[in-house]
Symmetry: C2
DNA sequence: CATAGACATGACAGCGCAGTCATACGGGCA
DNA sequence: TGCCCGTATGACTGCGCTGTCATGTCTATG
């Protein structure tokens, strides 16, 4: 229909019949070649490929999807932010998807979007996908709690517990709780009596996870938990939190739920005369690209986005292609604490207030370990 | 085929015929309703929608694409990095695409990928898209120069000149050259005699653009250009460049092609005893989220990613849906220089070496304007 | 030498929709 | 009254591919 002109036309994308005719085989054989099906002789395969190349033939995906019932594409639901974590995860997913031979469809859920994750999933189902990846979902007002997937499409949830009612759900944890715990323990090991926590917005599962890791590290040692300060991931919110925390003279260590907030926090502390890491140690989370170069270089935790995405997608694809089979096992990603110069032992407690050192070295030149740049403890 | 079972089955996605039967209309009428075609009475439309809701019907996109020849999706080619610029642009594109009613397919080109942009475009064409957005392409060895799009699919190139041979190409500039020029002029206006440039990798058009803006600002005032130092966008490369530049005692101002490099640069200068902004002023590019909170808060240029993406997509969609019509006009995005505390007038030149001030205020407390946080000159 | 099996290919139907055309109805206008 | 046009609907076809099954050829084996 679209193309009413008779056979004579020279434009119009070539179809598999055209290739078949040119190669002197049946249309079905062309299909076999392009799907790597068995039982095609080398000679015929060669002829078909040559004819295809000559005509500039490419498989029509729509027809393929219609006939086979599979779209060979995977949908991803992401937050619509350029935040380092979500963005990195998305890139990891893209890389991983490409390896699997599937195509990628992307849909955002804007924060505050009433439709939320459910709407995004719906739109992916409309578009037609064989599997869905939900990356770091947030829990808008608790309403997303029970997103149910009507269709029998497997879902991979990354970085969150499964709040989804669906026939087949996989979970790929980035192990944020464990990593947060490691970060907190690092501070305790340095001798800090307790560790404050600058949390992310608790609507985010990722933020809750990190808080939980912090909580469990303190709980394991029977340490009381100072009140949690909550930010919104932004450096601005970290700055605001820092002004608040700076007032607490006993505060010597903070675990921030991401690097941006840690940087804002450090700035506020510095302005308030609390030196980092002299007076206060700060650990971030993410290892954003500039973390090693801010002042002081930030001790932080690096998330294995690529590894998580790759493993998760392998499992998702397995689940798509072997609907009955058991899901592949999952292995925990490694924890990677990057120790730089924003953490140090706490100041001596004999004299309350400032420590005994009165040298005038500016904050820009911390006395702790020298800035680690691309060195042994800054693997890359 | 896929489904051999007779009519009796209760699962299997409902088709438009099923809806038609239930609503007592023809299949074609259901199609009309779902495509908002004219000539459907209100009563029939209501009945169809009700039946569809009852059955949980959703249009089958593959069939639709096959029958109509349009996939209603747009492909994006991005670099596979979580760098702030590309990531923000991608998010902007996602938001904009959603508004247009198209779906989004995403493909990365990894840096160093021999196939490069051409391969990514090819894979999108394989997948079937009605339009393509190429976001901040890079020019791998100059080989990408002439990516030609065989199919008659309109292409929108963002942030680069059009190196593409295609029937229909649109360009959406982020105006990086103009912005770079503004940044450079800001430094000259402060009294700096010249401005050094820490460039991005010149394979990137974005990096070339910024260098060109810097060049033209100096050229306009007849100022000699110091040699360009080239980094790779990373803070590490900025740091390395900083060590190099710090040796040049005459150097008082640097325009860095992105914020990450600016931050690494500042760290290196600070370690070398060159205070920012006392001794050296630094301007970054991008306005990454932490830019206002590093030490010193970074003067930088904010790119209007959302505006560019939105306008570009509007034009692309127009081009898709009106193949013959003239492309929509383009308007230049606004330049947004965010002045913070990393720039100041140059030190007095009477005494070579350090300026006249000897006060011992640490760098963390710059004498320039106070850190601007969420204030008037930090609009957000 | 007959025959089962592995291999190689083709004929045919139909996936679920949108395009085209035919048809039927109702009112304004000559 | 008859005609035409705008409206509303349906029958039919085919988009380009893949699944199923039939068919044909060749080799190994009893």
């Amino acid at each position: 229909m679209a193309q009413g002109s008779g056979r004579g036309g020279s434009s119009a994308a070539p179809r598999s019949v055209d290739v078949a005719r040119l190669a002197g085989v049946s249309q079905k054989t062309v299909s076999r070649v392009f799907n790597d099906e068995p039982y095609v002789s080398a000679e015929v395969r060669r002829r078909v490929l040559e004819a295809a190349g000559q005509l500039g033939y490419r498989l029509n995906n729509a027809a393929r999807a219609l006939a086979s019932g599979r779209t060979r594409s995977i949908g991803v639901v992401t937050l619509g932010t350029a935040l380092y974590g979500p963005a990195s995860l998305l890139m990891g997913v893209e890389r991983a998807v490409r390896d699997t031979g599937y195509a990628l469809r992307v849909v955002n859920t804007m924060e505050g979007d009433p439709a939320g994750v459910a709407g995004a999933v719906d739109s992916l189902l409309d578009q037609g996908v064989d599997g869905i990846v939900i990356s770091e979902p947030i829990d808008e007002d608790g309403h997303d709690k029970d997103v149910s997937i009507g269709l029998d499409v497997p879902v991979l949830v990354v970085g969150a517990p499964p709040p989804f009612t669906a026939p087949r759900v996989l979970v790929a944890g980035v192990g944020a709780d464990l990593m947060a715990r490691t970060a907190t323990e690092h501070l305790l090991d340095l001798g800090h009596l307790t560790v404050h926590h600058l949390a992310g917005p608790q609507r985010w599962y990722a933020a809750r996870d990190r808080r939980e890791g912090w909580r469990s590290a303190l709980a394991a040692q029977g340490i009381d938990r100072p009140p949690v300060v909550e930010g919104d991931w932004s450096a601005a919110s970290g700055y605001a939190a820092g002004r608040e925390l700076a007032a607490d003279a006993d505060m010597t260590a903070v675990f921030a739920a991401n690097d941006d907030m840690a940087i804002g926090l450090i700035r506020a502390l510095t302005e308030a005369g609390r030196r980092v890491p002299h007076d206060v140690s700060v650990v971030g989370f993410d290892d954003i690209p500039v973390a090693a170069y801010v002042t002081p270089p930030l001790t932080t935790v690096r998330q294995p986005f690529d590894a998580v995405a790759q493993q998760g997608l392998k499992r998702l694809v397995h689940c798509i292609e072997n609907p009955q089979a058991d899901p592949l096992p999952t292995s925990d990603p490694p924890v990677d604490l990057v120790v730089r110069a924003s953490t140090a032992p706490p100041p001596p407690r004999t004299t309350p207030g400032h420590g005994r050192r009165t040298d005038s070295r500016p904050y820009g030149d911390p006395q702790g370990p020298p800035p680690l740049i691309g060195g042994a403890s800054d693997p890359h």
